[in-house]
């Protein structure tokens, strides 16, 4: 069976201050359908770039990306968007919901944008399943962080994508909501047969996946099946011992993630 996502020799180079920065340095990997994979690595290891290239949000400098057996060849944004919205679902750290739209409208937005028919009953079923059945008419502002992330998961499920990419999906959530969201991502794989690729800092989050791929200096440097939080943390610590930078970041682990991009998460806890 073909991989849901296949990456071949991905390289991504950015123009930097003192010459070029190599974010990805020849990544080849496959993600089988119906699996839940976590991608981990110190900060600056290229996780986010990997996800963006794999998801068609960014173009690699070299290499090929296949999703559901189809190669992403588009270079213009409109074409990339059309490719993406047919095959890829997203869950972002900051939810990425439209504040003006209701829960239900947010969930079906990609379908609407793609001009696809909206099956209201199925939409409600999915939202019900995610515990949002009584929130259909609410706007994101009226929801808790965990609920917002569930709306984002619903939105990713409803288009029936070949793969769901999650970028630090628990980074802005409290521990309990984070656990709920991870349970739901796992359920998306087990019950809905989805494929999930999740980038995370947090060994506890990674332990929910079937397998972990470790990334350092833009390369895949290891793999762990049936991970546990402790084993993942230990492996990460070894990665940090390597000459690569970013070691200090690991000491703070999940706390570092919570403080990184989203100051509101801090305010929520206060």
């Amino acid at each position: 069976m073909a991989d849901a996502v296949r990456l071949e020799g991905l390289r991504r180079v950015y123009p930097g201050l003192g010459g070029v920065v190599t974010a990805l340095d020849g990544v080849t990997a496959g993600f089988a359908p119906g699996t839940f994979t976590a991608v981990m690595g110190p900060s600056g290891s290229g996780k986010s770039t990997l996800l963006q290239c794999a998801a068609g949000l960014d173009r690699p400098t070299e290499g090929r990306v296949f999703i559901d057996g189809t190669e992403l060849t588009a270079t213009r944004e409109a074409a990339m968007t059309r490719f993406r919205r047919r095959r890829v679902g997203f869950v972002f750290q900051d939810f990425n919901l439209m504040p003006a739209l209701t829960v239900e409208q947010n969930a079906v937005l990609p379908l609407r944008l793609a001009g696809r028919r909206v099956d209201r009953r199925r939409t409600r079923e999915v939202l019900d399943r995610l515990g949002l059945g009584d929130r259909l008419g609410h706007t994101p502002g009226e929801l808790s962080g965990g609920q917002r992330q569930r709306v984002a998961i619903a939105r990713a499920l409803i288009t029936d994508p070949a793969v769901i990419f999650a970028d630090e999906p628990t980074g802005a959530l409290d521990l309990r909501s984070a656990r709920d969201v991870l349970d739901l991502l796992r359920a998306a794989v087990r019950d809905f047969g989805r494929t999930v690729v999740m980038v995370t800092h947090d060994p506890v989050a990674a332990a929910y996946a079937d397998a972990v791929r470790f990334l350092a200096d833009g390369r895949i440097v290891g793999r762990m099946d049936r991970p546990t939080a402790d084993a993942v943390a230990e492996r990460l610590a070894h990665l940090a011992d390597a000459p690569a930078a970013g070691g200090a970041d690991l000491l703070t682990g999940a706390a570092g993630a919570a403080f990184s991009g989203w100051p509101r998460g801090v305010a929520g806890a206060a």
Binding site: A78, N96, P99, L113, V266
Partner: protein, 452 residues
Amino acid sequence: MTMTRLALSGLRHRTGAFVATFLSAALGAAILMTFASMIDTAGRPAVDPVSEESLATVASVAGGWGLLIVVFAVASTMTLSVRQREHEVGVLRRAGATPGQVGRMIAGESLLIALVAAVVAVPIGLVLGRVLLRLLQDTGQVAPSVSYAFGPVALGMGFGVTVSGSVFGALLAARRAAPAASAPPYPRSRRLSPRPGRGRVVAAVVLLLAGLSCGVLTATVMKGRGMDAMQTAGQAGIWSAVGLALLAPWLLRLVAAAVPVRLLFGAAGELAATNTRRQAAQMSGAVMPVILFVGITTATVYMQAIDDRAAEGLIRQDYEKNVQTLNYVVVGMIALFVAIMLVNTLLAATTYRRGEFARQRLAGATPAQVVGMVAAESLLLTVTGVVFGTVASVATVLPFGMARVDDPLPSLSLPPYLLVVAVAVLLTFGAALGATRRAIAGRAVDAMRLCT
């Protein structure tokens, strides 16, 4: 102290965002100074009484219109620029700034902008005032011997109005923004922009009634008084335009319900309709200048056309020619000012939406769909502005027709109106779509990072 330093560093880091506010304040101050310098000129020794009176009339009538619009424009641009900083204000509040500190910071910034703008406006006002005086002298209304003066009245009006208008507008907006210590990433209330207050409705009703009474006055008392009817007729249109502009959020919602953007623009139109419904108060910032632009220009152009018709076959006196020229000068100036305000507002508001556009793109919208959504919104804005601007102009044209040619609906040529509408459409779509294209130029993921 800290807040002042913060205000200064804010200005340094967000130069682009302040350009809009600065431009409208500078231009407004220049216009005010131009007219106010006529009073300075009239106050010089050895000005004959006739010249003095014409100078005073020009200053009070034209300057009065200008005053109203400048205060309105400066305050509304300021409100917009403060509202755009809600996120920043929220961060400050959470970092421990009291509402008073935030208020002082915002007031400090706007004071600084207004002062610099007024200083920059001095040479412009000086030159424009000279041109205006020359115009009045060339048409024989002011004696050629009168020499130009730019003094305390010009400076006082220019600085006073610009500074107080800016600071007042900013404080009003800050009062709303400041309590948001826990400003959530997604606004809590379902209606995203604050519900327009009751004070606004009251003000709008008062202005509309004033407009109406000026209209009635024109058609009755001023009937047969020739050109003098222009004063009340002109005011009828202006008051009505400002009154309707205050009601813009409601009018916009009304139009959004009536125009089938969903059918015309598909999914993008649907988003536009939802945005307009939920964020009418924010979007109405751009409707106001369209109403003012269409209302004031249409009213003046047609009022002059009716007057020309009434004077057909008669030989016009210098005085009348002068009024005609003055009419066009004033309307030109105000139209230019309002047009700049419109473009400013749209550029600022659209650039501010960068994060929203990025979210949409990440949710699967193509660049064309984002542009389509903004186009659909612009359509709603323009239709609202043009329809109600036209309504406001009717408050001038209809009574003036009755007063001057005894016909409320004299057959007037359509092209000038079409030109006004075309300019409004061009400005609105040009500014909004241009800014949108720029806002979505980079990658969506980068735009998100910049915004959070």
